[in-house]
């Protein structure tokens, strides 16, 4: 892999978890993502911001190959996680997704009990050898998601019966239970009320210790609150990427400035 210059470059830097190089995404004939290059650091929160339809969610979904499930979607360029190209034919998307978890816009608990929702991932990936281990994974995941106290007495109740905020934290716990290295969050708070949003944001901040988090958000305030680095997308192009502080206080690009000052979006 040494012949790839960008890898050497990446390894030269302090640390890089994910590096994307000239990523193109097509939906049929539509060129949805153009020439995106980005490096994402481990154990940090990176926020993707931009107006609707700018491609930030599409790009996020390329990181764990969720776009594979859409027939007409085509991805070009390379995305590397720990230096390994995830679009390499040798890579099994199933194994990749165990490493790169995902939380979606709308809370989507399975129509099962809370326990089974969390246990689902560990079960399919064979992470527990027995019931006791599974119980441990479930309880620790719920603890990490800050949900344990609220649900410990009703693990048998259906996950769909919880409040929206609880459902979303359940979905985060479900993602953690597989012990991924990266967690992708696609506007995780857009369906939640402000109090629930605050709880989720708090949780994201805590999770930063152990996971690399990429979050797509519609709200610039949220990006400013939770992320260390921010990337601004516009019309399928990555306009600017840098530390959150820089992007919000001292944007280099005119478009970024217009967006964060609310001139469009």
């Amino acid at each position: 892999m040494n012949e790839m210059p960008n890898i050497e470059q990446a390894t030269d830097m302090t640390e890089t978890k994910i590096s994307a190089n000239k990523v193109q995404v097509y939906y049929g004939d539509t060129h949805a993502i153009k020439d995106v290059d980005i490096e994402i650091q481990p154990r940090s929160v990176t926020a993707f911001i931009g107006p609707s339809g700018c491609g930030k969610s599409t790009f996020l979904r390329t990181i764990n190959r969720m776009n594979d499930t859409i027939d007409i979607c085509r991805v070009e360029g390379s995305i590397r996680i720990d230096g390994e190209d995830i679009y390499d034919p040798k890579v099994d998307p199933v194994q990749l997704r165990a490493k790169v978890g995902m939380v979606f816009q709308k809370p989507n608990p399975f129509p099962k009990s809370i326990y089974d929702n969390i246990a689902y991932g560990p079960r399919i990936h064979g992470l527990a050898r027995n019931k006791a281990e599974l119980d441990d994974i479930v309880s620790s995941s719920l603890q990490k998601a800050g949900l344990w106290e609220e649900v410990k007495n009703r693990l048998d109740e259906p996950g769909t019966g919880m409040s929206g905020g609880q459902q979303q934290r359940l979905c985060i716990a479900r993602a953690i239970a597989v012990s991924p290295e990266v967690i992708l969050m696609d506007e995780p708070c857009s369906a939640l009320d402000p109090i629930a949003t605050a709880k989720v944001e708090e949780l994201i901040d805590e999770l930063r210790e152990n996971f690399t988090i990429v979050i797509v958000t519609h709200s610039m305030q949220q990006a400013a609150r939770v992320s260390q680095r921010t990337a601004f997308f516009h019309l399928g192009i990555l306009v600017e990427e840098g530390s959150t502080q820089d992007i919000f206080t001292n944007p280099k690009d005119k478009r970024t400035q217009d967006y964060i000052t609310g001139r469009f979006g």
């Binding site: 969720m66 027939d71 199933v94 995902m102 989507n108 689902y120 399919i124 979905c171 479900r174």
Partner: protein
């Protein structure tokens, strides 16, 4: 005058009324269209509606009521002594009607004059001889009172038809005149017509209710009649089915249990074929197949549902039956005696139900929100794990509903079992033996030569009632489950 001509005359009166109404409206407005409240055609339509609708309604009511009146009149003519043991008034009345029809036919064939057929003083033997000569079936049960009643029946029916014609035409003309009388420039013809149309629309919608009532009445009345002749407990709990067509079915054993067993056994085999194949086909089409495969395979599979059941029946009788016989028959394993068997009918019915299960399940699987799939794929589940652990549990109520609907189809299916399952009612576990079903027996009891009023024929209505109740129950439960399921994801 035949019914057809009567209807035609009423319609003709309506058309004439339309033309007159339109002309009268125009003339009342002095030929100025804008002076009319409504368009001229509405005035015509108003007259036509008032001529035709009440007249046709009267016609329908008369047609329904006349048999009641005639029957009660005839019934009073028959002394109790004329009703022999083991018979009933209903049976004798049926006899009367048959004799009357025989007389009609004899007159039509020219074997006797109308005068003669009506002459109540005519010699009894002479009439029966002449009827026989005219090739009309005259059973030995025809007695003097029956024949007299039959003659009276004919007189009443003819008079009824005569008065009906007069009354209907009269009503049509009066209606037309009424419509014409109210026609003037200020009359709100459009509103009146629209009100009338609305009533017609409601009447059309009510036909669904009338059909259900018709089904219920025809089943209930005849079932009650049957239970008068045959004890209900023996019917519901009897383990033997052996109708005897001789002697009014007095020695028949008409237990439904063997028929229900055959019905459920065959349905079970059919579902055992259709559910796994249909379900896997639906899963493949919904989750795996590309749009091209889907566009080809789905309609092709649905062709199976569009093929008439008679084709499947023939396929069972002539192709599948002999094929199974060659494998399991005496030349093969030796557990099958004839081509018609539970297995034959069940297999073919299963094939018929595949598209039924698959397209219903396909709809239901597609109704599971994409977010569920995303959630599962996002955790690194494979497609099959997602299907088994997330989609199927989520779709389960809907799929159960679909299977219940398929079961109701299987239980009510007639042609395949009539041709493919055999005619012998038996309680056996061997799927390669011939058995029979409720539907097959409804057909055989009502198409045989059995007297319509005898228990061996009437039992078909009790069977029909059972079938109706069972399938209706299944449908209601299934539709309820499916609706609840749809609401969950709407």
């Amino acid at each position: 005058m035949s019914l057809f001509w009567l209807i035609l005359i009423v319609l003709a009166i309506a058309v004439v009324g339309y033309v007159l109404g339109r002309a009268r409206a125009m003339s009342s407005a002095g030929g100025v269209r804008s002076a009319l409240h409504s368009l001229p055609s509405y005035y015509g339509a108003n007259v036509a509606m008032k001529a035709a609708v009440p007249a046709l309604l009267l016609l329908i009511v008369w047609l329904l009521a006349q048999p009641f009146y005639v029957n009660s009149d005839i019934s009073a003519m028959i002394p109790d002594s004329a009703i022999s043991d083991g018979s009933s008034r209903g049976l004798v009345l049926a006899e009367v009607r048959r004799a009357a029809r025989g007389l009609d036919n004899a007159v039509a064939a020219g074997a006797m004059t109308e005068e003669f057929a009506r002459n109540a003083r005519a010699d009894f033997n002479d009439i029966t001889v002449r009827l026989k000569e005219a090739g009309q079936i005259v059973t030995s049960e025809i007695t003097q009172p029956v024949l007299r009643a039959a003659q009276r029946y004919r007189v009443l029916a003819a008079a009824g038809n005569f008065y009906m014609t007069i009354a209907v035409i009269l009503v049509a003309i009066v209606g037309a005149l009424w419509g014409l009388r109210e026609t003037n420039a200020q009359f709100r013809a459009r509103n009146t017509v629209e009100k009338g149309v609305r009533v017609i629309l409601i009447a059309a919608a009510s036909i669904a209710i009338l059909t259900t009532i018709g089904i219920l009445l025809s089943l209930v009345f005849n079932t009650v009649e049957f239970f008068k002749l045959y004890p209900a407990a023996d019917f519901f709990f009897g383990l033997t089915w052996s109708p005897s067509f001789s002697g009014r079915g007095g020695s028949s054993e008409l237990g439904i249990i063997p028929l229900l067993w055959g019905t459920f056994y065959i349905s079970f085999v059919a579902l055992a074929v259709a559910v796994p194949i249909g379900l896997f086909a639906a899963i493949y089409l919904a989750e795996y197949a590309g749009s091209k495969v889907r566009a080809v395979a789905k309609p092709l599979l649905e062709i199976l549902a569009g093929i008439p059941t008679i084709v499947y029946g023939l396929f069972a009788l002539l192709t599948v039956g002999p094929l199974l016989l060659s494998v399991f028959g005496d030349n093969g394993i030796g557990i099958m005696k004839a081509g018609t068997a539970v297995m034959t009918a069940g297999l073919v019915m299963g094939v018929m139900l595949i598209p039924f299960v698959s397209s219903l399940s396909d709809d239901i699987i597609n109704a599971v929100p994409q977010a569920m799939r995303d959630g599962s794929y996002g955790l690194g589940a494979t497609k099959s794990e997602t299907v088994k652990n997330v989609i199927l549990p989520a779709a389960l109520p809907g799929i159960v509903g679909a299977i219940l609907l398929a079961a109701s189809r299987a239980i009510g299916e007639t042609m395949i079992v009539v041709l493919g399952a055999g005619a012998a009612a038996r309680l056996s576990l061997n799927p390669f033996e011939a058995m029979t079903t409720v539907t097959a027996k409804i057909v055989s009891q009502l198409t045989g030569d059995a007297d319509f009023a005898s228990p061996v024929a009437l039992v078909a209505f009790a069977l029909g009632m059972t079938l109706f109740v069972v399938t209706l129950g299944l449908n209601i439960v299934a539709l309820y489950i499916v609706r609840k399921y749809r609401e969950q994801y709407d």
